[in-house]
């Protein structure tokens, strides 16, 4: 765990789970941003000071997910995110500021460049869905490293809101690490609503090797649609 005490947008102290090496870091957690704060309004990008001794001074581009506080569907988008001069920097987009405080989810790897060594073949795993009568996962790729996991895929469809309500719903998995606890945005894709800004998002979490998520109240347009996830998370992150 690392604590980022100071930032340039008037936010509170942030705690992130971390894996650090000189060429690869993985950070996992969320940041709350208040668009009404004067420091936020003055900032051109969001900067959070990394703790003294953080291994990586500078990284290549990575990503984070902005999850707004828009009613029902919590619209958001993907943001650029990187490490520069011992700061975690995040692109600032103001499209959802009028909905009040929003969250930025960081479940990402940060790498340096100039690697000139050999590459190892990537060993892929394919966690299987146990409750296939309810769920299916396509485009799935799972990398299980010693200190972190990387998992991406697409839930083929989400349960019907009218029949099953808000949930919670659990995708039972076989083959996903049971020592990973991570909260992730699920990007829901379907028919675009008029004037929709960003993508519909709901929050899920991986715990005990399974994925659990629920709907916001009234989120009827999430059901029946596919949902994407793509994240890095820390092994042994159950404390």
């Amino acid at each position: 765990m690392i604590t980022l005490d100071t930032n340039n947008f008037g936010g509170a102290s942030v705690t992130l789970r971390d894996f650090q090496s000189s060429t690869l870091c993985v950070l996992s957690g969320k940041i709350t941003v208040d668009p009404a704060h004067s420091s936020y309004m003055a900032a051109t990008r969001l900067e959070l000071d990394l703790p003294v001794g953080f291994t990586m001074v500078r990284s290549a581009i990575s990503n984070a997910i902005l999850v707004s506080n828009a009613p029902i569907y919590r619209y958001g988008t993907v943001l650029q995110c990187w490490i520069e001069d011992n700061r975690l920097c995040i692109e600032k987009l103001t499209l959802w500021d009028t909905f009040g405080p929003y969250e930025i989810y960081i479940n990402a790897a940060f790498v340096t460049r100039c690697y000139r060594g050999e590459f190892l073949p990537t060993t892929l795993y394919y966690p299987s869905v146990l409750n296939t009568d309810q769920f299916g996962i396509g485009f799935a790729r799972y990398v299980d490293a010693a200190d972190f996991v990387y998992y991406k895929g697409r839930l083929s469809s989400l349960p019907d809101y009218d029949n099953y309500g808000q949930g919670p719903f659990t995708v039972l998995l076989s083959g996903f690490a049971t020592d990973v606890l991570v909260e992730i945005p699920l990007i829901v894709h379907g028919v675009l609503l008029p004037d929709q800004k960003g993508s519909m998002i709901t929050i899920g979490s991986f715990e005990n090797g399974n994925l659990t998520f629920s709907y916001q109240e009234g989120a009827v347009n999430l059901s029946g649609k596919g949902a994407l996830f793509n994240f890095f998370a820390l092994r042994g992150s159950i404390y």
């Binding site: 060429t23 690869l24 001074v57 500078r58 990284s59 290549a60 581009i61 990575s62 990503n63 958001g76 988008t77 993907v78 650029q80 987009l93 499209l95 990402a108 790897a109 940060f110 790498v111 340096t112 460049r113 100039c114 690697y115 000139r116 060594g117 050999e118 590459f119 190892l120 073949p121 990537t122 892929l124 485009f139 790729r141 990398v143 490293a145 990387y150 991406k152 697409r154 990007i187 894709h189 675009l192 929709q196 800004k197 960003g198 993508s199 596919g226 994407l228 793509n230």
Partner: protein
Amino acid sequence: MKLLPSIAFSDFSGSAGNVTARKRGDKTVLSTRTKHSRKKTRFQASTRCRFTDTVRGFSRITEAQRQGWFSLARNLGTYSTSTGKTAISGHNLYVAINTYRRICGKPPCADPPATLKPSRSISYGDFWISPGHIEFTAIGNRENPNEVLHVAMYPAPSPAETGCWNKTVCVAIFPDTNWGDIDITRAFIKKFGAPLAIGQKVFITICWLDSECGYLKNFSQFVFTARETSILGNAAYRPRAKITMDDIIPRTVYSKTERCDYEFSNYLRITSNEIVAERLEGETAQSCNIPHKGLSSDFNYERSFQYARGTEEENYIIHYVCVIVLNSVSTRIHISMCVGMHTDHINTFGTYCVTK
């Protein structure tokens, strides 16, 4: 200019032909006039013009400013050059500082700098000095945004040449390193007209130079003969597994690429990349092809599933794209839309594991 102790001219000051005698303390020294090389290359003309202009600049500054330079020179004591330490006059300090400032692209300064931040030597990992590659790796970070890397070189025609540091000339100024790397190959060929030959001796000085201050003091010096393997690790040259705008064909009838910055960053085959492209008429609605000119052998068939984002006009809708780098029978980057609104603009970025 050469200084010679003289007995015959002990009471004489003045010039005769190419010889000038002057009193220095209780001694008289002779100097001969510098022989003009008469070379008229573009670099020579540029250097002479810059030098002349800088020298004349000293006469255009105010008396107070001149006194400031005299004072700074007195306080400095000795001044380090690539050929050793020397006492320096206010005039010569003005010329030296402003010469390096101009090399770094800064305008000359009339006022002497408040403090002289000396240049510093570099730390590095390894380097190749070969006909095809003059590259340093893992150079330490600059300490402030004004610092630039100043690289001077001299390729000796004969391996018997020694101590040719006064013959090195500025080959390149790098505003920063490329993740610790600098590639001097193109700048060297542009400067000297031909690549190094295997076995050719080359003198190199490199330093981090504060471009605002222009005070060259400390630097790293290298003299090596060119060879194919790296100087420290004796390793064969291995390019980085990266794709830049230089490696692709940015405009075809099918696509227009504004940005392409792709690299494998770890032995686990993790890519960090940013690609901004536009699908033009002729492609299928779901995909975009960007031809490349051939990549390192580390690339074969590399596939990553990535987030992408619509433009502001498209309300930043999140897409999901599949980026495939083909580098065998087909040489292109193929980006297909997996999920999301089909749009002509592709803006994908981030760090992802590459998976087949």
